[in-house]
């Protein structure tokens, strides 16, 4: 039996459900949105923003992890900027960035561009490129360390010896060590970048290429004038992400130079490793915090510049 509630009952219902029932649909939606957002917001405030703020405060203090914190003002920064090791580390970090990002971008694009056209064993090949990304950086670093050993242990030097070429000091030379560490770092990140590039390539409608084919333009023109401009958002994403990755490089360096972290003679030491050593070898937390703030600033500036440069006009 259909029953229609009288106006009186309806009013009673409203009264019973109270405040919530009186909200408009828009207000109710807002309320629910904030209810659900509350969890991640709480997480971010407690786990992310509070420590960040704390680190900034700490950078103006001196603290050995156990005793009291004492204010030192900008002393930590003054020490940092007059420390020659910092400038060496600063330079290294930017070498990782300026070599790593473009090289990995170009290699991953070339692989993705061609892999996109391969039908034979497509899935398997793609998986093979993705494996290094899933592998533990520590395990990988140690395998590469073995590759780089001297004759008769190291793989690369054994090859060189087979062809009668004199062996190369990969990790023990101040000039070769950084590129030698960068190589596996680039290799490890390729899989991810290739997957992203391929997704970007797949998103370009096929008719764009067919129209170009009918217009009879060259493959080169298609690449430069259609594929790359349309991949712009993908490229921005990869450049920003991989830049942040290379500016924060740590595990590859740490694991490939364990005997002398960041060596030889600080020639491979990145900023994160310096922070780690200041904090957990020298227990100079305030100084480490100042270095962290500098790294944070660099990351922020680099990301903002890239976004500005690469943003769609």
């Amino acid at each position: 039996m259909a029953s229609i509630s009288s106006p009186d009952t309806a009013r009673q219902n409203t009264a019973r459900r109270g405040l919530y029932a009186r909200l408009s649909i828009g207000q109710k939606r807002t309320l629910w949105a904030w209810t659900f957002l509350a969890v991640p917001i709480l997480f971010y405030v407690v786990i992310r923003f509070y420590p960040t703020g704390n680190a900034m405060v700490l950078s103006l203090q001196e603290w050995n992890l156990l005793g009291d914190r004492s204010w030192v003002g900008l002393e930590n920064y003054r020490t940092l900027f007059s420390d020659p090791v910092f400038w060496q580390v600063f330079r290294n970090t930017f070498v990782y960035l300026l070599l790593g990002t473009p090289i990995s971008l170009v290699i991953s694009f070339i692989i993705a561009y061609h892999l996109d056209k391969v039908r034979f064993m497509h899935g398997t090949i793609r998986a093979l490129y993705f494996v290094p990304f899933m592998t533990s950086a520590v395990a990988m670093a140690w395998v590469w360390r073995w590759f780089y050993q001297d004759v008769p242990i190291g793989l690369f030097n054994n090859w060189l010896a087979t062809f009668g070429i004199s062996q190369i000091d990969f990790l023990d030379s101040t000039t070769n060590a950084l590129p030698s560490i960068l190589a596996p770092a680039i290799w490890a990140g390729l899989g991810f970048q290739i997957i992203i590039f391929m997704a970007g390539l797949r998103a370009i409608p096929r008719t764009f290429y067919e129209a170009a084919e009918i217009d009879g333009v060259s493959t080169w023109t298609v690449l430069w004038e259609i594929t790359l401009p349309l991949l712009r958002p993908t490229i921005v994403f990869i450049v920003v992400l991989s830049s942040i990755g290379f500016l924060r490089i740590f595990d590859h360096v740490f694991n490939m130079t364990t005997a002398n972290p960041g060596g030889p003679l600080n020639s491979t030491k990145p900023l994160v490793l310096m922070i780690y050593q200041t904090a957990f070898s020298s227990f100079d937390m305030g100084y480490a915090a100042a270095q962290t703030v500098v790294l944070f600033t660099i990351l922020l500036i680099v990301s903002l510049i890239q976004l500005r440069l690469l943003r769609d006009r």
């Binding site: 008719t207 129209a211 084919e213 009918i214 217009d215 401009p229």
Partner: protein, 353 residues
């Protein structure tokens, strides 16, 4: 003299044959529409003409030259795609000019050519805009402009109006027809919409399952459909088909009603399919069939009435001003001379020509 000839054209993907030896001649300046339900091979045919799909067997000849193994750019054709395929990061000018990239013209000549095309299509003031700032109809015009700028011998259209809303579609349809009159080039147009086919074409090619069902002018395919498929595909609402048996003077319909066929003789007792367009069934004029109206669809100028006649649904048209209502009992009059007869098994028309 540009002529397009398809000779026993076959397309196979692996084992599956999707196009079964089709033959077609298109004369210079002709507007031919390939129409059929999805999967009938019409787009495949167009893409083979364009050179985007390889020819498995048979020949494609454009302007007296077999083009089977020529690249698209060497075929002197241009194509307009369903999703327009205009590049979002280029201005309208660059989009239109993209087709001139390989042309051996000076920059000034190229620009003059682009301006000329833009003027023809009435979008001179849109040249510096990006596609995102254009409406659907304007984007379609850019796509047509890019085809025009190269001055090809053959224009190919792959369902170019399908992404537009109904009103814009009607408008663009008219523009394409006007464009054809103006440039006078051969145009091959693919669509699944029979109204587009009827309104645009000089000749319609109706396809189904990789076979050509009928080639003819819009009037021919409408008034003399070659088989039951064409009869039902062309014309909205579709033609009524009823089973019937031959008699001495005409046919006897499935419900026993007798229709005399003065201009056709059918062997007595032969099973045939009797077809009649809704507009040839006159409500309340004559009483060959009688039934109850189940649904009335007023269209303004006329009303479509769905009539239940002895368990079968028959569509008829009634005048727009005094339409019957659902539940009304009405009679339907018809004349044997308007009727189409088809062989029941093969579906082929029994009217010659």
């Amino acid at each position: 003299m540009t002529q397009l000839i398809l000779r026993d054209l076959v397309k196979r993907y692996g084992e599956t044959e999707v196009l079964h030896a089709i033959n077609l001649d298109v004369a210079e300046g002709e507007f031919v529409v390939l129409v059929g339900p999805s999967g009938c091979g019409k787009s495949t045919t167009l893409r083979m003409i364009a050179g985007l799909e390889e020819v498995t067997e048979g020949e494609i000849e454009i302007g007296g030259r077999v083009v089977n193994n020529l690249e698209p750019k060497e075929r002197n054709i241009a194509m307009v795609f369903q999703n327009y395929a205009i590049y979002p990061h280029m201005s309208v000018r660059r989009n239109i000019g993209f087709g001139l990239k390989t042309a051996k013209l000076s920059k000034a000549d190229k620009n003059a050519r682009i301006d000329e095309v833009a003027a023809t299509l009435g979008m001179t003031e849109l040249l510096e805009r990006k596609p995102s700032q254009l409406s659907g109809g304007q984007r379609q015009r850019v796509a047509i402009g890019r085809a025009m700028v190269r001055d090809p011998a053959v224009f190919l259209f792959d369902e170019p109006l399908s992404n537009l809303d109904a009103q814009l579609r009607t408008q663009m349809r008219l523009e394409i027809k006007k464009l054809h009159t103006r440039v006078g080039k051969m145009m091959i147009f693919v669509t699944h919409d029979q109204v587009e086919a009827m309104t645009l074409a000089d000749r319609i090619v109706i396809m189904k399952d990789g076979h050509i069902q009928q080639i003819g002018t819009p009037a021919e395919v409408y008034h003399a459909p070659a088989n039951t498929f064409v009869a039902q595909f062309i014309g909205a609402p579709a033609m009524n088909l009823m089973s019937a048996t031959g008699t001495s003077s005409g046919v006897r319909l499935w419900n026993g009603a007798k229709v005399s066929m003065p201009d056709l003789s059918i062997a007595e007792g032969r099973e045939v399919t009797f077809g009649l367009r809704p507009e040839d069934l006159k409500t309340n004029e004559g009483d060959v069939l009688a039934g109850t109206v189940t649904v009335a669809e007023p269209l303004g100028s006329e009303t479509l009435v769905y009539v239940d006649v002895d368990g079968s649904e028959i569509i008829a048209t009634a005048p727009g001003r005094t339409p019957p209502k659902a539940g009304d009992k009405i009679t339907l009059g018809l004349s044997g001379t308007d009727a189409h007869l088809f062989d029941t098994d093969s579906g082929v028309s029994l009217r010659a020509g």
